[in-house]
């Protein structure tokens, strides 16, 4: 019996740093390990002793791709701890802010990180040689998201305007109206993008997932809702820790989340889509239907299609909010400090992001817990690989490796690492 090992030492096009090791004995998969070198989540420790008002800005630094998700989960959790009620106009501004981040993140993943897999290129740079138009489209879409984030967040990267109670500054009606033209273009471009990615070939692979997402009675979820699943979970987000636990596995220093007594689960676009399809606004729902996409969608490779549908949603929702926008009477609610605890979940582009804080009477953080979406998907990613790899039997090691990487990218994993120094070789001419 021969044995072989597939090793991908540093996974490309995954946010952060991770490695994959698959062991075979003959044709049988013997072991699958997704190794994550995430620096231990030191942020939970940094937060202790800091003022609760600092949490949104401190946690925003955990991820350069989804700082708004961290800010939104932080502000909602602390507002729950302090019993703060926010203005309905502020609530809409937060949804708008989040739409900006979804546009940025999904445009990046759909075109620059995932599309090269389907079109047979090693990366977006190689893809750009033959598909310049697609890359230019992604750049412009992403820029539209950036503009939205900049207007609401004060700056593009690590936005600084969101705070407990609302925003330090609310935009004027004309500032938001100025974004409409580009957003209308982005809406059309997203519809075209969904149609385009729907022409890709999807490996025939379906799994019986437990999908977990927020669910709001009237809206496609972003910041609010109950936490639900397709297997009967229906809880207030403050009960999250009663139903979910995190496990440390030896090969990875990111924790793996599980549902108690049920094991792995799936969060992110596919989960949101399957659990909230009827709450997608008209253009997004129609685009999905025209592309033959309807719930339950159980093929994770189709997540690229669902992300594109969510791009349509984010543009459509942003335009709706801007059209109806009346600035709030005050950009932020008055906040009175008190001792307490509060939890919140919001839908980061990659799935649910859980924050919980305990604060003392002076507003200092006594305890903090953060469960990012990628650690909730990690166990599920490994299980997908266990089932997917046997379908690849007979292929070369190189082909198998590429297919495994593509399967991992279905989850757009963000293994927050966030340094970006250049390792380079200098050629002196």
């Amino acid at each position: 019996m021969t044995s072989k090992t597939i090793k991908v030492d540093c996974l490309a096009r995954v946010e952060g740093e991770a490695a994959l090791q698959v062991k075979f004995r003959g044709d049988r998969v013997e072991d699958v390990k997704l190794k994550v070198f995430e620096p231990p989540r030191m942020f939970e420790a940094f937060l202790r002793g800091r003022h609760a008002f600092e949490a949104p800005d401190i946690t925003a630094r955990i991820c350069g791709i989804c700082p708004i998700a961290y800010q939104m989960s932080a502000v909602h959790a602390i507002e729950r701890a302090l019993g703060v009620k926010i203005d309905p106009a502020v609530r809409l501004l937060r949804r708008l802010f989040y739409c900006g981040e979804w546009i940025e993140s999904h445009a990046l993943h759909v075109f620059m990180l995932h599309a090269p897999d389907f079109l047979g290129y090693p990366d977006a740079v190689a893809m750009a040689r033959d598909h310049k138009d697609k890359v230019e489209l992604a750049l412009r879409l992403k820029k539209t998201g950036n503009e939205l984030v900049t207007v609401l967040g004060g700056r593009e990267i690590h936005p600084i305007s969101a705070c407990v109670g609302g925003f330090y500054r609310a935009p004027s009606r004309s500032e938001l109206r100025a974004l409409e033209e580009n957003l209308k273009w982005a809406l059309d471009a997203s519809i075209a993008a969904t149609k385009l990615v729907s022409t890709f070939e999807f490996p025939p692979f379906e799994q019986d997932y437990e999908f977990v997402a927020l669910s709001h009675p009237k809206e496609y979820p972003l910041c609010e809702g109950r936490l639900v699943s397709n297997r009967g979970l229906d809880i207030d987000v403050s009960d999250y820790e009663e139903h979910f636990f995190e496990q440390h596995v030896k090969h990875s220093n990111a924790l793996q989340s599980q549902l108690k007594k049920r094991g792995s689960y799936h969060v992110g676009p596919l989960a949101r889509f399957n659990l909230n399809f009827d709450r997608l606004p008209a253009a997004a729902r129609q685009t999905a239907e025209e592309c033959g996409l309807k719930p339950p969608c159980l093929n994770p490779f189709r997540s690229i299609q669902v992300r594109a549908v969510e791009l349509v949603f984010a543009c459509e929702e942003a335009l709706r909010i801007i059209a109806e926008y009346e600035p709030p009477a005050a950009p932020r609610a008055k906040v009175k400090l008190r001792a307490g605890a509060g939890a919140a979940i919001t839908e980061a582009p990659r799935g649910i992001l859980y924050h919980r804080y305990e604060v003392d009477a002076e507003g200092l953080i006594v305890a903090a817990k953060i469960v990012p979406p990628t650690s909730q998907n990690l166990k599920r990613i490994e299980e997908d690989l266990w089932h997917f790899i046997p379908q690849l039997n007979g292929r070369s090691t190189e082909e198998m490796t590429l297919s495994c990487e593509q399967a991992i990218r279905n989850y757009d994993p963000c293994i927050s690492c966030a340094t970006h120094f250049l390792r380079m070789e200098i050629v002196r001419e």
């Binding site: 490309a12 952060g16 740079v125 690492c417 250049l422």
Partner: protein, 156 residues
């Protein structure tokens, strides 16, 4: 002639990776407009598109002693995109390569690298790296003296 666009990259919470941002703060204190950049390679392409000349300041790892300053043109630096270790998946290196493919490089790109060696979360740049950042800031300040204080950014 347009004033060069100065882009300083880094993450303030990751040790020597904050070198570029130290340069940005020093230049801002002197009233020089710079663009701070963190992680997002695609935004970088947007930022420098149309610029005649851009100066990019970032922490680098070349194997030299920490604090070593290198200065190379964007053309002569062969950036090893697939050997970027701890870096973000679509970062500065990818942006340079992609901008080349798309014909969206500035006419002239210079990279000023400050060698780093420690990148632990929650730490500040080492003193030797901070000293080099101060030297880089004064070099850029001197070079920009002949230009009026407006950004070379295309403004779109």
């Amino acid at each position: 002639m347009q004033r060069p666009l100065v882009i300083c990259c880094g993450n303030a919470d990751r040790g020597d990776d904050g070198a570029g941002l130290l340069v940005a703060h020093l230049l801002a204190e002197s009233g020089i407009e710079v663009l701070e950049h963190s992680l997002d390679g695609l935004a970088l392409i947007e930022a420098w598109s149309g610029a005649e000349r851009a100066i990019l300041v970032d922490a680098v790892v070349t194997g030299a002693a920490p604090g070593t300053i290198i200065r190379v043109s964007g053309e002569s630096a062969r950036v090893l995109r697939h050997d970027i270790g701890l870096t973000h998946s679509f970062g500065v290196a990818d942006a340079i390569e992609l901008a080349r493919e798309l014909g969206r490089m500035p006419k002239r790109l210079e990279i000023i690298g400050i060698e780093g060696s420690r990148f632990e979360p929650g730490t500040e740049p080492a003193p030797v790296v901070a000293e080099s950042a101060a030297r880089v800031a004064s070099q850029i300040r001197e070079e920009l003296e002949s230009f009026p204080n407006e950004s070379g950014c295309s403004g779109d």
